[in-house]
């Protein structure tokens, strides 16, 4: 019997306890032994909870328990999760986490510590909730040179953008609704400003390209600038506005970006609605693949954590070999990436052509007199921004996602 502990009995931690109990038999079948929770660390008490008697307030009750071989860290934040994780790994216990903040900040170091002590530091649940994207990158697409990773990695913002598009809501109202339904937090900055997606694309890209990407270096724009009219323009162009977290390997290096972009029906991510997440991975042999599922929620996220726990139990005394490097990757400036841009501006088409050169797909919408929207030619972002600076009357603009006909390659 494998004994584990859970640190942090919140939404995900409680989901882990529930999943291990609910699927006890299936897990035993697959692992060859039972996996049970021996201890739960939380500052609170949980009277009446089935796990009530397992709760301790003392970290050392877990750290010093030699029976416990795997610890789930679902506390979030950096303190005390960072020192706790470090000590557990040094004590020869594997740690499985959903804490993307910690993985993005100290993941490289913690993996190294795990390796030194022949244990594992796994974090499937840190990106894409229940979607097994980390395992796909670490253990499935291992014969690939990954060329691109692009995902809808934040459920909150996708919910807001979907409800703006489908119900015609303004950003503020859609956010309020998301908060009422529990899909957005009271302080939603980490989500709506793109920081959550930023950490996740940094983690996924580090695994995909084999060098460490500092999440703070990923250029990031949130969705607060998106308004109802922008979405009407997108619709008229047969597009949707989605918060994409993306990175791509070019000849000269790798760039990454988190920003709301206009994407069309040629892109399978366009169909991903509500709180769902999806990640597209393009490899030089396999071509385009996509992975779709619940990006958050108690049980989907817990499912990913439990998958990691099971992997640790199966690989007792052995570090699962995955590609990672402590070497830092310097990102290419996104300024050099060429693409078409959508621009919404006041004035007339002549002004637009003067400012941006050749334009196409000019859209005028009812009720928005005196302005129009259009697409520019493909140009490096740097060039576009220079033109933008000189242009007058621009109301808003978006990057247009790739328009290649590659979907059915």
């Amino acid at each position: 019997m494998a004994k584990i502990a859970i640190m942090g009995y919140g939404t995900v931690g409680a989901g882990v306890y529930k999943t291990l109990a609910m699927n006890k038999d299936a897990i035993k079948r697959r692992v060859g032994e039972e996996v049970t929770v021996k201890r739960i660390l939380d500052l609170r008490e949980f009277p009446g909870d089935p796990a009530e008697k397992l709760v301790t307030h003392e970290f050392t009750d877990i750290l010093n328990d030699t029976e416990i071989s795997v610890v789930v860290e679902t506390m979030g934040g950096l303190k005390p999760s960072y020192p706790f994780t470090k000590q557990l790994l040094e004590a020869g216990k594997s740690v499985c986490t959903s804490n993307k903040e910690l993985v993005a900040a100290h993941g490289v170091e913690l993996r190294e510590t795990a390796r030194e002590h022949h244990v594992n530091y796994l974090f499937e649940a840190s990106c894409g909730g229940g979607i097994p994207i980390i395992r796909v990158l670490n253990t499935a697409l291992t014969a690939e040179e990954i060329e691109e990773v692009t995902g809808i990695l934040n459920g909150t913002t996708n919910y807001i953008l979907t409800s703006m598009a489908e119900e015609g809501k303004e950003f503020g109202d859609a956010l309020k609704e998301a908060q009422e339904k529990g899909y957005a937090e009271l302080h939603p900055e980490a989500d709506v400003e793109g920081h959550d997606a930023r950490r996740k694309i940094a983690i996924l890209s580090s695994l995909a390209y084999g060098k460490h990407i500092n999440w703070e270096e990923v250029p990031t724009e949130g969705i607060t600038k998106v308004d109802k009219a922008d979405i009407r323009y997108a619709k008229a162009l047969d597009c949707k506005i989605k918060l994409l977290a993306t990175s791509r390997r070019e000849e000269k290096g790798i760039w990454a970006l988190v920003a709301p972009m206009m994407i069309g029906s040629e892109n399978p991510l366009t169909a991903v609605g509500g709180v769902m997440n999806a990640v597209m991975v393009k490899g030089n042999a396999v071509g385009t693949t996509m992975y779709y599922g619940s990006g958050a929620g108690s049980l989907p996220t817990a499912s990913a954590v439990c998958g990691d726990v099971i992997d640790c139990v199966k690989h007792k005394g052995m570090t699962i070999r995955t590609e990672y490097s402590t070497e830092n990757l310097t990102l290419l400036p996104v300024n050099e990436v060429p693409r078409p841009f959508f621009v919404r501006m006041k004035g007339n088409e002549e002004d637009a052509k003067k400012a941006f050169g050749s334009i196409s797909q000019v859209i005028r919408l009812e009720g928005l007199e005196g302005e129009f929207g259009f697409l520019t030619e493909m140009m490096p972002e740097k060039t576009f921004r220079e033109k933008l600076e000189k242009a007058e009357g621009v109301i808003n603009w978006y990057r247009r996602g790739k328009m290649e006909e590659e979907q059915e390659a």
Copy 2:
């Protein structure tokens, strides 16, 4: 350096050689050592091919070479691939294959042989080409009770159905075009009659539910009955006709089925076009997940084989623990599964109601006078078939896929 051999230098075998060469550096980074091809078994010669000098016609050159630790089997069929694979495993070599025929027929036994000899028999490429669906079931969704597996698992039929829907072609013309483009074989029965998808759903379902499903017991219908008019009716119902390979866990047991079905835009598989494949897996904790990619082709399939090779090299001397059982699973009769049915018939709505009870979504199409289409209420297939037998004037019918509003759960 890990040395491997390839048996069968056809489309996939050559793709494996090419992928290992092309991505040599990435693979070395991830495995910790180089992976090179030492021998290729094929009856033919390949003058001018980069691998020309590795070719042998003697199986024993591979079997008796103690340097070769992993063998790729891309010969297809059962003879001689079955005895060759068996001997290699017994000689302590791991085998990685794309041969779904062999996996469906003798997979259980070969895995058992591998286990006895502390090696691996891996077959990621046997289902879904480059989509890492086997690894997802074996190593990612391990904390789940899987409730459903539904896929578009055959690229040839999906290409034909897509081209019928998008270009209004008749089945025969679409098949001919697929043959000309190399997407369908000269003798296309295995694809169009559904046998290929049948083997694949048997393999995936065996892994998902943990007991062996005999592929010959999966009720299977091909797409030869699909005609242009059926597809026009589907369109009018905002549906597509797709060849689905599906299995589901019910309270009383598990059923499986391969058949063309009408599915609507609420189902993410509806958007999967051309030769692409996708698999939806539903678990009791993670909910609905989906995996999408190239279901065939030299490099995508080779990528999956190479991923297996890498896993074998990483797990030298150790059988990767996965859930499988030599116990056979008796499938529930599909007759008991309730769903709505689409019926296309001659006569009038009164006849339809008399025959099938309450009907909805009645469709009449231009140019198809004297007939119409409609959906029945939800009923067990057995009940539907009884009604069908007594009804007069029925031209064709389809199962309607699930219509639940679960996509954005």
